[in-house]
């Protein structure tokens, strides 16, 4: 069993700010040992989701550990410079700056929301364009979401208990063709519908790679209508 208790974080700084808010930590006096522990735990959880923890998160883990180590070492006082800098200073500055813009982003969101309430005259004219816009926004599915769906698909696989050794050779190109064949006439394919067609791990893995490749080639796109909702693939050539 696994539990989803991670909000989606925009990056390592966001994750750290979450801990600071959650534990009501004084940002100028961050308990490095504790926050490092929490942080590494969160990374482990991401790994459990089969998400390859992105480089930036790992860099931050290393930074935290370096600060921790520096704080453990006795600070040798320099006679000329008796003011020994707190090893956390740089991180704190970074966190504060990020928070500043996180807030600014919220203000901007409010502004845009307010602006959405006014309908200028031009609206009637470019309504189709507004529609296309909407689709574009929906395509903003995070890798995290994709990986989560992938994990569900993996977990829902029947466990084969019979003693059976079999290894099917699955070819990436063939799998790509197979997936493209699954699209309905509208050029839409639901993630769950696709996954229900596969019955063993290797096939799912290769399919996942195939999907990523198809997206990269620009043959299909991904869309998600709501948070944690169904993910849909759209066959782009169909639109043309």
């Amino acid at each position: 069993m696994y539990k989803v208790s991670l909000e989606s974080f925009e990056g390592p700084l966001d994750l750290l700010l979450y801990f600071i808010r959650r534990d009501k930590i004084n940002i100028y006096d961050i308990p490095i040992a504790k926050i490092t522990k929490d942080y590494v735990k969160a990374l482990d959880m991401m790994k459990e989701f089969n998400v390859t923890v992105v480089g930036e998160f790992i860099v931050m883990a290393a930074t935290l550990m370096r600060i921790k180590a520096k704080m453990l070492l006795p600070s040798h006082r320099n006679d000329e410079n008796s003011n020994v800098e707190d090893p956390r200073t740089l991180l704190v500055q970074q966190l504060l700056e990020y928070q500043q813009f996180k807030e600014a982003a919220q203000h901007l969101t409010e502004l845009a929301k307010n602006q959405n309430r006014y309908f200028p005259r031009k609206n009637a004219m470019d309504f189709p364009e507004a529609h296309a816009d909407l689709e574009f926004y929906l395509k903003d599915v995070s890798l995290f979401e994709m990986a989560r769906c992938f994990k569900i698909a993996m977990d829902n696989m029947p466990v084969i208990s019979t003693y059976e050794l079999r290894r099917e050779q699955i070819n990436l190109e063939e799998q790509k063709a197979k997936i493209l064949g699954c699209f309905d006439c509208d050029g839409v394919l639901r993630f769950s519908a696709l996954m229900s067609r596969f019955n063993h791990k290797l096939e799912i893995i290769v399919s996942f790679l195939a999907i990523l490749e198809l997206i990269q080639q620009g043959t299909i796109t991904v869309a998600q209508n709501e948070i944690f909702g169904e993910i849909e693939f759209h066959y782009l050539e169909n639109l043309a």
């Binding site: 930590i25 004084n26 504060l96 982003a105 309908f119 909407l134």
Partner: protein, 178 residues
């Protein structure tokens, strides 16, 4: 040409234009002796108020446009069947904010503030015409510098970039988190 006639001409321009109407455009239309758009708009809005209309003329992105009043939003949405607000993702919003406040700014600087790769998000904002390339930095590699566009002002209901809400001072922020 009488003042009344000019007023009606400006009204027709406002009615027909797909983008906020500027004084510059008005000057082009009238060639000579063009009326001051801000005055005309004031007169028109007064008229609309007396006659009780569902729309009025708004100043936005350094121009003017006819727009419906916010209280009719729900009815218009019924008609246009627009689902919820068109919104940018959080990542896009954060990047948008950083570019808006720190422009001109390079990708590297945006990334150092957000702590994550921003290539994709910047591209999204570029394709939406919310930011544009303003030039290149003088530093090594001459990285591209980004800034906001007129469409950004329109989408966020601003007249000039200086109207964006002030960034909260860092000192204030830290006292709030404690």
């Amino acid at each position: 040409m009488q003042g009344k006639e000019k007023q009606l001409i400006i009204e027709s321009l406002l009615f027909a234009t797909p983008k906020p109407l500027t004084q510059k455009q008005v000057n082009l239309v009238f060639e000579s002796d063009s009326p001051k758009i801000s005055d005309t708009v004031e007169q028109l809005n007064k008229k609309y108020k007396i006659e009780e209309h569902s729309f009025y003329i708004r100043k936005i992105a350094d121009g003017y446009q006819i727009a419906t009043k916010p209280e009719y939003e729900i009815w218009i949405r019924q008609l246009l069947k627009k689902s919820d607000q068109l919104m940018l993702s959080r990542a896009s919003m954060e990047t948008m904010a950083i570019v808006a406040y720190k422009q001109p700014i390079g990708r590297y600087e945006v990334e150092s503030i957000r702590g994550v790769d921003c290539t994709g998000v910047l591209k999204t904002l570029l394709t939406h015409n919310l930011i544009r390339i303003q030039g290149r930095d003088k530093g090594p590699g001459r990285p591209l510098l980004y800034g906001t566009t007129k469409k950004f002002l329109e989408k966020f209901g601003l007249n000039t970039i200086s109207e964006i809400p002030k960034l909260r001072e860092i000192a204030e922020l830290s006292s709030a988190t404690e």
